[in-house]
Symmetry: C2
Subunit: 293 residues, 2 copies
């Protein structure tokens, strides 16, 4: 059983990889017909109908770098790395979440791709190998070091993260991080490290955060998450026993919840044992998947 | 059905995450009892039995940075970022593959983790945000910018890659990259990009490289791959039809293979239609999984 349509996936944009490396083809697309995604820093701008707002390349700052997002209905779509962004870090904020809720799923995915890429360019101005400035190339899918001795090539980063349901005797393990809204609980999660399989990362995270040994880790579904550029990998596992030893530096609280607890929260009720994660998050879909099994 | 044990996973090392952030605990472990993985650049050194060679921290260069790999049988294990490595790029080579074949699976995984981390440190000496030097912190699981205005934190990179079986009417799509040994064919593969789910990345890669539309993408298994630091995500999918349009910039050749072709190659025969990928590669395990279904 699949977890179905999920936020930030399904843009429908043709990434047109072959154009990125073809400087002539790319230049040919950068004319008055090209569309520029209108951003306010990293946040989206909206048209009167609440859709993503688009302009033309003439709207970009003269010194701005442009990222080629792909083709939509034959039109080349770009996003601007605004000079005002350079070096900044802009986490998601409640205002952004409210604004994004008006977007259809394809638009949300297009925005997420643009946000992740633009953010990467804003925070990767210099070569990590030699410290010299880098320049955008291949339509923004690469940056090259300008130092002729170094010439390092750098690529947009995607950070794989495991997020996991842990089940024991019909109960589900959920936790809350200090930064969560009040009474929100969600699936445990953590970055995959060098030298780990997905399954090993799940087992390590659950042990680290809750002191629980898991078995039978299985994959459920995945989601791109543009804050700043994660790949959420949703899994299911079984706990060997129910005893919890919570890492209070990572989690404020963690506990086992019954099917009824989960169904009540997922029904939108806020007066149960916890408040469910929002529909944009893969955790929401993992819980829905678990209830439907 | 799982793909079972796979190379570079299963080190059995306790990564002891809580120690990384505890400078006192880490310093306390860096005594004469600590073990230093002996590397020749990024390549492993071997003891007379063909196992990984270990020394003590006294063997490290005085100016070397040390990466805390974790605990093995209560002993702290480290690897050295040799000053001679800084800024270099060292791809895997045939000599390395031959040498690694003597290692047991846990040792291969420990080596892979060390290689990925040491390589990351060697090529990430400067802050990508501001260009200033960075220093190793948290036992080598982080680098911090030394510029007091910037203070950016940088984390070891893991690049998720999809690698996929594509099936059509009982045939399997395999391709060969120009860099492969003669007559080797393997599963198609490609990096996951910002803004894509795993399933979307599989569909895009197969379309880009072979002109084939796929449906029903399912996850099969994963593998850490330390060249330099990928997470291979193995999937299975069905092609809508068998017509191939091969991207000759990515692939030298691609074709459909019967179950008999695959079984013959996987049996170790080199006089069939192709030579199978080696057992260290997840592609080998995907083919084995497919034959066993």
């Amino acid at each position: 059983m699949s977890i179905g349509a999920i936020a930030f996936a399904g843009s429908g944009l043709d990434r047109a990889d072959h154009i990125r490396a073809d400087a002539d083809a790319l230049a040919g697309l950068m004319d008055w017909r090209a569309r520029l995604l209108r951003l306010d820093g990293l946040d989206p701008q909206f048209d009167p109908e609440g859709n993503l707002a688009w302009g033309t390349l003439a709207d970009a700052a003269p010194s701005a770098e442009l990222v080629f997002l792909g083709l939509a209905q034959g039109k080349a779509c770009f996003a601007e790395v605004s000079p005002s962004l350079l070096g900044s870090v802009a986490p998601a904020n409640p205002r952004l979440w409210a604004a994004m809720s008006s977007l259809g799923s394809a638009e949300l995915a297009t925005y997420g791709t643009a946000r992740a890429l633009v953010d990467w360019h804003a925070r990767h101005r210099y070569c990590a190998r030699c410290g010299c400035p880098t320049i955008l190339t291949k339509g923004g899918w690469q940056r090259n070091c300008t130092n002729d001795v170094c010439k390092a090539e750098h690529f947009p980063r995607v950070d794989p993260v495991t997020i996991m349901l842990v089940e024991h005797e019909g109960h589900l393990l959920l936790g809350r991080q200090p930064r969560f809204p009040a009474r929100r609980f969600s699936a445990l999660a953590g970055f995959i490290e060098p030298g780990e399989s997905i399954e090993e990362a799940v087992a390590r995270e659950v042990m680290e955060e809750a002191g629980v040994t898991v078995r039978d880790v299985t994959y459920v579904g995945s989601q791109p998450w543009p804050f700043p550029s994660s790949l959420m990998i949703g899994c299911h596992s079984h706990a060997l026993d129910g005893k919890l030893t919570i890492d209070m530096t990572e989690l404020e609280e963690a506990d086992w919840f019954t099917r009824e607890d989960v169904a009540y929260a997922m029904g939108g009720s806020e007066d149960g044992r916890f408040i469910a994660p929002p529909p944009q998050a893969i955790a929401h879909h993992l819980l829905k998947w678990w209830l439907a099994r």
